[in-house]
């Protein structure tokens, strides 16, 4: 009994920590219309800075809190709102998601450089000591966290429901113009929203930091508030009381499960589940939500889109590209760079290029954000390695089939829900797969999974040059496929469903089927790419398909151009080259890049400078630039500027 009470207290405390982060998410969403994926990363940085101040610099707790929560939040809130978010006015719906992800990978990237993981950093409880009640020990810290969470939730609820500024804060997302007419600055309201949101993020990070008894870990701290995401989703990003209660319930469930259920499971399964639990909660929250009502958006897609390459253009472009690959293979066969052959690295570029093409299909055309393409790669590699001892054509086909099926399952929530929820579902899936599955030693084996090269009767791809050309052929075929899809009836439907779901339904087309289909196709492409990745590398490791690299790669595709095949190729090239030169800088580059790109829908390749008709850009089939560069044309809807809800 006393154990139970002890677990309950700790669970409520954990939940209270989540609740603070979750209410912060709700605040930012209701006032700025953006789901802040960087919420966890902001909390992580706050926790590390708190450690710097209190442990390293011996600054008092109260002063540290004041510096971080007041000063830090105001600065970070204003910077995020003013320098990043306001520039997204009129961007496509996927862009605010990308920018907050960019902030996340910048913060985690910087943190990894500043706070080397070799040093152990533990944060002390803010208040020490404990007292006994009904036979159980309660720490003052636990009481403090629960109290702070209650005060925060009650205070925000009061602000939103009972005060005039609160009304203005909530109104800003619904109708910024109308609010402006009422004499309130919508930008000012968004600023308040971001400042409050950052404050909550920092507070939750600092309060939960002492629970990390083995020391602060960048990734763990960043993902710590994912349970808060789940709570905010249960509150439908709107209701603070529901979010609060959900957060407490999740904290309790998590603590009960890890104390009562997991010890009875096998060691490895138990550990896996511990890590995967928050993501499982998030996924459950997403699939059990009532469906979102389809609404007329009242705005037109504001970007001029690149011309789609004709069949002949992509045919010629693809052949030229393959020709260049042959020359590359002949010239650099045997060249070693940094311990690997250059052709091997080139093969990696092409494999990632195929993943990039799947992102063009799913995100560029149909407007859905997928953050788990790397996970599909991992699953594809796994299937490839397990079928017929690796290196088989059957494995290659099966990797695509398996990923298509899993992809359709992951995308199921989108039948009823909006795009943001799909992004979250893929986020949850990517992390759950990595922590709960790939990291399990029995899946990839301790040292990695052997895949080997494909062997066909009379044809061997054992040599690097042959393997490189095989992957090149797959890349070219994938580019042809994606461009052919775009030119087809299905391609028009993809663009249509992305531009206006309401209109799409009212002409008699089924949104859910279209979205799930394209997502499954994209997953299959990534799966095949994963299988090929396996044949290039010959062995794959457990950490090859992590959540963060996957997100960073998506950002690179967005930076170059999420709507063209050349964007996919250049993203892959950038990723592989940077990964060789400065791996820890990947996230920082990607984050800064996506912030600079801002609302330019077709990334760097869409910019004015690329008006030049470079023949080599056609090679990956993106003759779509031939028609001149595309710049953003902001078309106000019939009633003027309308903020795009993220």
């Amino acid at each position: 009994m006393s154990n139970f009470l002890q677990y309950t207290i700790f669970g409520v405390m954990l939940g209270a920590g989540y609740a603070i982060a979750a209410t912060g998410l709700v605040v930012t969403y209701t006032t700025a219309g953006v789901f802040n994926f960087a919420q966890g990363a902001i909390g992580m940085v706050a926790a590390f800075l708190y450690w710097e101040l209190t442990i390293q610099c011996h600054v008092g707790v109260v002063l540290s809190l004041f510096i971080l929560l007041v000063g830090g939040s105001i600065v970070s809130g204003l910077v995020v709102e003013g320098a990043l978010m306001r520039r997204l006015h009129g961007a496509t719906a996927e862009r605010p998601v990308m920018v907050t992800l960019g902030v996340m990978v910048i913060l985690t990237g910087l943190a990894a450089i500043i706070w080397s993981p070799t040093t152990q950093r533990t944060v002390n409880n803010m208040v020490s000591g404990q007292f006994s009640l009904a036979g159980i020990n309660i720490q003052y810290q636990e009481v403090l966290i629960i109290g702070v969470a209650l005060v925060v939730a009650a205070g925000l609820r009061f602000l939103f429901v009972s005060t005039r500024p609160g009304y203005a804060l909530r109104a800003v997302v619904d109708d910024p113009e109308l609010l402006a007419l009422a004499g309130v600055s919508p930008n000012r309201m968004s600023q308040y929203g971001w400042v409050l949101g950052s404050m909550m993020a920092g507070l939750s990070g600092i309060l939960l930091a002492p629970t990390q008894t083995t020391g602060l870990n960048i990734e763990a701290m960043t993902l710590l508030v994912v349970s808060g995401y789940a709570a905010a989703i249960v509150g439908r990003l709107r209701s603070i009381p529901v979010t609060f209660i959900a957060a407490i319930a999740i904290g309790l469930a998590q603590n009960y499960i890890s104390n009562y259920v997991l010890p009875h499971l096998s060691q490895s399964l138990g550990t896996d589940l511990t890590y995967a639990l928050p993501m499982i909660f998030l996924f459950l929250a997403l699939v059990t939500l009532p469906s979102v009502r389809l609404r007329a958006s009242g705005r037109l897609s504001a970007v001029r889109t690149p011309r789609v390459a004709t069949r002949n253009e992509s045919l010629v472009g693809g052949l030229v590209f393959f020709g260049i690959c042959i020359v590359f293979a002949l010239v650099y066969n045997g060249t070693i760079y940094n311990g690997t052959t250059l052709l091997n690295l080139g093969g990696l570029v092409l494999v990632l290029g195929i993943v990039g093409l799947s992102i063009v299909l799913v995100t560029g055309y149909s407007g859905q954000v997928s953050l788990c393409q790397f996970s599909f790669m991992g699953i594809g590699a796994f299937v490839m390695g397990k079928v017929a001892g690796g290196g088989s054509v059957a494995g290659l086909i099966l990797s695509g089939v398996v990923c298509a099926l899993i992809g359709a399952l992951v995308a199921l929530p989108t039948i009823r829900l909006s795009g943001l929820y799909l992004a979250l579902a893929t986020f949850a899936f990517a992390d759950a797969v990595v922590t709960g599955y790939f990291n399990d030693g029995s899946v990839y084996g301790g040292g990695g999974l052997n895949i080997g090269r494909i062997v066909l009767p009379g044809l061997s791809f054992g040599g690097d040059a042959a393997e490189f050309l095989l992957v090149a052929a797959f890349f070219v075929a994938s580019a042809w496929f994606v461009l052919a899809v775009r030119r087809s009836r299905f391609g028009r439907r993809l663009v249509a469903v992305s531009d206006s779901p309401a209109a799409y339904a009212t002409v008699g087309l089924n949104i859910g089927i279209t979205k799930v289909t394209v997502f499954a196709v994209g997953a299959a492409m990534a799966g095949v790419a994963g299988a090929l990745y396996g044949t290039v590398q010959q062995t794959v490791g457990t950490s090859d398909f992590d959540l963060f690299p996957g997100i960073i790669f998506v950002l690179f595709v967005v930076i170059w151009s999420v709507r063209t095949a050349s964007g996919a190729f250049l993203a892959a090239l950038t990723y592989v080259v940077l990964n060789q030169l400065w791996p820890s800088g990947l996230g920082i580059f990607a984050g800064i890049g996506v912030i600079l790109i801002g609302r330019a829908a077709s990334g760097i390749l869409g910019l004015e400078v690329f008006r030049i008709n470079w023949p080599w850009l056609h090679t990956s089939g993106s003759a779509d630039l031939a028609d001149g560069a595309e710049e953003d044309v902001y078309v106000p809807s019939t009633t003027g500027d309308v903020r795009v809800p993220g």
């Binding site: 979102v292 037109l300 009836r489 299905f490 028009r492 531009d499």
Partner: protein, 283 residues
Amino acid sequence: MSPVDPPAIGPDMGADPAALVVSGVVVQFGGVRALGDVHLSVAAGKVTGLIGPNGAGKTTLFNVIGGLQRPNEGRVFLFGEDITKKKPHQRARRGLARTFQRLELFGSLSAAHNVQVGLESTDRPWTLSSRTRRSAGTTVPERLAKVGIGVERDRQASEMPTGTARLVELARALAIGPKVLLLDEPGSGLDETESEALGDLLVDLSGDGVAVLLVEHDMELVMRVCDYIYVLDFGQIIASGTPDEIRTNAKVQAAYLGAQEPAEGDRDPSSESSAVGSEAAPA
């Protein structure tokens, strides 16, 4: 399909069931009653007008009919079938098409492809693309020409002026071959000639047997093309009748015609969730 017979309301249509019947529809946004017990019926081969001041609930009613807004009470019948619980795309497949007051075009597609998506909406995945290509060659320009768009068909929809864009939207709605057509202010943004052509088009459509429900502020257009008119005010039908009856109806004059002309750009508060406390579902 539905065992329930739609109640007879509106003009006498003889033995034919009405193409579209709205029966006792109530929509509540938080504390605001956007529609209160609305009954109306739209006959095949007729143009029916729905007029009323801004904020009367016209767009909300369209959303209820089209399936974008679930009513708190009441039912919607399409050719005698209860479609209240059907999804928007299922209604469209039964022959219901609409345009939007605030444009809902596929902005990154060309005008021609906007229409083509409509034309192809009935294609199944296994339908051969040759059919698509044939329709791309002939029917799309035809459809666009029908609404008066000739040269601009390869222009990206989001770059078109509002008036033209409205016509593209109309052409797309016509492309699905509708039996019932809901038009939400199709005349706004059109010049006089275009507006006149629109009127002729509507008369033609009703001549072909299409049931048209028209929301419009241009009274001249409404009075010219409508066979029957409903007047909505504060979510209630306050009058209905032929154009002549409406013109002389005292209640209508007090509520609408006699009053000031509604300012352009005013909007229907029910068409979006501007009201605080309404269901602002995350997008």
